[in-house]
């Protein structure tokens, strides 16, 4: 099987200047591969997809990627119908399913047995949801989702583990927020952060 890092490597060349919201384990890998102030790391388990939805609705002309894990995905199942109902065409929801709570000690999740995230997304109303089995398939599906410009979930079963010696993010949550907002300001050429009075 393939690691999440190898899957991420496959989509970096295709991701352009997409805004990215990613779970704690994934963001370090993603930021090492694509360093950018357009990367946002939430702290509430489960809310990656919901925060990405808010970003996608706020900037409907920008591509937004939610990089989710199975633990977070399962914790926020009620968010799926909301996302599908809003149906943001610019949101690509990627799920890297290692079938356990890797960052929280490795206890297995329901996707290791009977739960099928792709079926859950479809049943929630996602117009597109599919599994991929290798990085080439991910590249193909990712490029198709990007071009189609319709809400899509792409899921891959991944091997446990991450590269050693990945750098820690060098800033805290508040700096992450400001960098992300300033990045949007710079790329959208409009003010977002309210000046203090």
């Amino acid at each position: 099987m393939t690691t999440r890092y190898e899957y991420l490597e496959a989509i970096v060349p295709l991701a352009g200047d997409a805004l990215v919201v990613a779970t704690g384990g994934t963001i370090r890998e993603w930021s090492a591969l694509r360093p950018s102030d357009g990367n946002f790391k939430p702290r509430t388990l489960g809310l990656v997809s919901s925060i990405a939805l808010g970003v996608a609705l706020g900037l409907p002309h920008r591509k937004v990627l939610a990089l989710d894990g199975d633990g977070a995905f399962l914790m926020n199942l009620c968010g799926l119908p909301t996302i599908a109902w809003q149906n943001p065409p610019n949101l690509i929801h990627l799920l890297f399913d290692n079938q356990c709570h890797e960052a929280a000690g490795g206890g297995v999740t329901a996707t290791s047995t009977v739960a099928d995230p792709v079926a859950l997304a479809r049943a929630a109303g996602y117009p597109h949801a599919c599994w991929v089995r290798n990085p080439e398939e991910l590249q193909r599906e990712f490029a198709a989702a990007w071009k189609r410009n319709e809400l899509s979930l792409i899921a891959a079963k991944v091997e446990l583990g991450r590269p050693k010696n990945l750098p820690l993010l060098p800033y805290d949550e508040i700096e992450n927020k400001y960098r992300f907002m300033r990045y949007i300001e710079a790329t959208e050429k409009r003010a977002i952060v309210e000046p203090p009075r």
Partner: protein, 168 residues
């Protein structure tokens, strides 16, 4: 004032305060308010499945420049406590919380919920205001929104039956 008039008044106050993005989950007592928001073209309305996701959605929208609010019952507020702590407070992201105050004085069936609402808001360090008369609505909404933006924290307005114009 009846429920429909009150809902219009609150919705107009939200608009004047600059709110343009609202997540909601209804309670019977705030159904008219949710309807008024849904019909307002100047506000993007997101019907939620559970309140905690609303904190995430509003946080994401805030990052893009939206001014956000959540409309929910106080039971739903309790559902949000982790997200309020680790998203709104930890990242210093403002959001206006409009919370229907079930179990307020004189209310039947929700006294347990009513009794924990203000202590939990206080424990989270979320300032909260409870207008009791319709004529206080506009000023309270505007003030709470200014406070949320200025402090970069959630601020709550507790909506009582008197203000909502609904039967006790």
């Amino acid at each position: 004032m009846d429920a429909r008039g009150s809902a219009q008044l609150i919705k107009e106050a939200l608009k004047e305060a600059g709110i343009d993005f609202i997540g909601s989950l209804p309670d019977l007592k705030i159904a008219e308010l949710v309807r008024a928001v849904e019909q307002e073209p100047a506000i993007k309305h997101i019907p939620l499945c559970r309140e905690e996701e609303g904190i995430g959605i509003c946080a994401g929208a805030y990052l893009t420049g939206k001014k956000t609010a959540l409309i929910m019952q106080n039971g739903g507020f309790l559902n949000c406590c982790n997200a309020l702590t680790t998203t709104s407070l930890q990242f210093e992201i403002p959001v206006l919380l409009l919370i229907y105050y079930a179990g307020d004085i004189g209310d039947r069936g929700f006294s347990t919920l009513g009794s924990v609402t203000e202590p939990v808001l206080q424990a989270l360090g979320i300032r909260h205001y409870t207008p009791r008369r319709p004529e206080e609505i506009k000023k309270t909404m505007r003030g709470a929104q200014v406070l949320a933006q200025d402090s970069k924290r959630p601020v709550a307005v507790l909506l009582t039956k008197d203000v909502l114009g609904v039967e006790p």
